[in-house]
């Protein structure tokens, strides 16, 4: 069985809540085919993907459907993000959800009160920083600056 931090990482990855840097590191690590509990990860990804089945089903109108189908069949290049946002940004800010109205203090207290001993898995603790160090860093693309600078240097060498 893998360590606690690995389980925490794959849970966060499956839930889609990793912070940007950890996401980049984790996904790069995964794409290289490095060792991970892939069966466990797949089970968690399937679990998360099942959450929307409880939402009330809604088939888009025929108008939307036809618009999407005709748009899809002619479109080949991806759209830019600029195309996506309406001019008035405020228009797409979400309304507070029902869950937002939950008393946050109550939730926080509950979290603090819950006993770690009641956890279904027994693992050792690890800090966020340690987790970051555990995964490889993505190399920065700085070679593009190095090559032109080197070339300029050779231009000034005495013949």
């Amino acid at each position: 069985m893998a360590d606690r931090e690995i389980h925490e990482m794959i849970s966060s990855f499956a839930a889609g809540c990793m912070d940007r840097e950890n996401f980049i590191n984790f996904k790069s690590y995964m794409l290289k085919g490095n060792d991970l509990p892939y069966r466990e990860l797949g089970e968690l990804q399937n679990t998360i993907a099942l959450l929307p089945v409880i939402l009330e089903k809604e088939l888009p109108s025929e108008e939307i459907k036809n618009k999407i189908l005709s748009k899809t069949f002619v479109q080949e290049s991806p759209l830019s993000a600029e195309d996506e946002l309406p001019e008035n940004k405020d228009e797409i800010l979400p309304e507070p959800s029902k869950e937002e109205k939950i008393d946050l203090n109550k939730i926080t207290d509950e979290i603090k009160d819950e006993e770690i001993a009641a956890m279904p898995l027994s693992f050792t603790k690890i800090s966020g920083k340690e987790m970051e160090e555990k995964l490889p860093q993505v190399p920065e693309k700085n070679l593009q600056f190095f090559i032109p600078i080197s070339f300029c240097f050779f231009l000034f060498l005495p013949v």
């Binding site: 389980h7 966060s12 889609g16 990860l41 399937n46 679990t47 991806p78 509950e110």
Partner: protein, 195 residues
């Protein structure tokens, strides 16, 4: 679970790869009733939801055929969720911190990276699990449900959830782990599968 080759969606995806528009329409009919409410729950605004839905199907049309997708159901749902959350995060961020949305960005941050060992099933099977998923969610504590909601539907990261709830990041991480383990065990319990 079914064999990959027996699942309707996998057959449809093979047809889409060959440019079959009817197969694509069938995927739309099968999946839009599930992913449209999901997108609307995330982005709220109707017009934005319609746009995101069109984006999801554009990605399916353009990219899905060239990818080897084992669980089409999990892939489409995760894709819809990722695309909607990305839109939500963009609308909540200032323009200086937003990544440019191009193909490279889409491939890395939007396309789902599912485990190679993921079990496969189709949407018909997934819909039979609705009552069980609902019941399993009800058995979580309010705090566990809330962190899952914040992560999955509101697209908050661990740090953002930590700040919102005034609790350490490690606690949030643990909450997510425990909540998902409980859900996984309850949804996949043998008696649940039989019943």
């Amino acid at each position: 679970m079914q064999e990959t080759a027996e699942i309707k969606e996998n057959i449809l995806f093979q047809k889409i790869a060959a440019g079959d528009r009817d197969a694509f329409k069938e995927i739309f009919e099968l999946y839009s009733p599930v992913i449209f409410p999901l997108i609307k729950k995330i982005v709220i605004e109707e017009k934005t939801a319609e746009y995101i839905l069109s984006e999801v199907f554009r990605i399916i049309w353009v990219k899905a055929p060239v990818l080897k997708i084992k669980n089409v159901y999990a892939w489409i749902v995760t894709l819809a969720r990722n695309r909607a959350v990305d839109s939500l995060r963009r609308s909540n961020s200032d323009s200086e911190t937003i990544d440019f949305y191009d193909e490279e960005y889409e491939d890395f941050f939007i396309l789902p990276a599912l485990s190679a060992l993921i079990m496969t099933f189709g949407i018909e099977y997934a819909l039979t699990k609705a009552d069980l998923v609902k019941k399993s969610l009800e058995e979580l504590t309010e705090a566990q449900k809330y962190v899952i909601h914040l992560a999955f539907y509101e697209g908050l990261t661990l740090i953002e959830i930590s700040k919102k709830l005034h609790i350490p990041v490690e606690t949030v991480r643990t909450k997510i782990l425990i909540a998902l383990q409980i859900l996984k065990e309850k949804i996949n319990a043998p008696e649940a599968a039989n019943g």
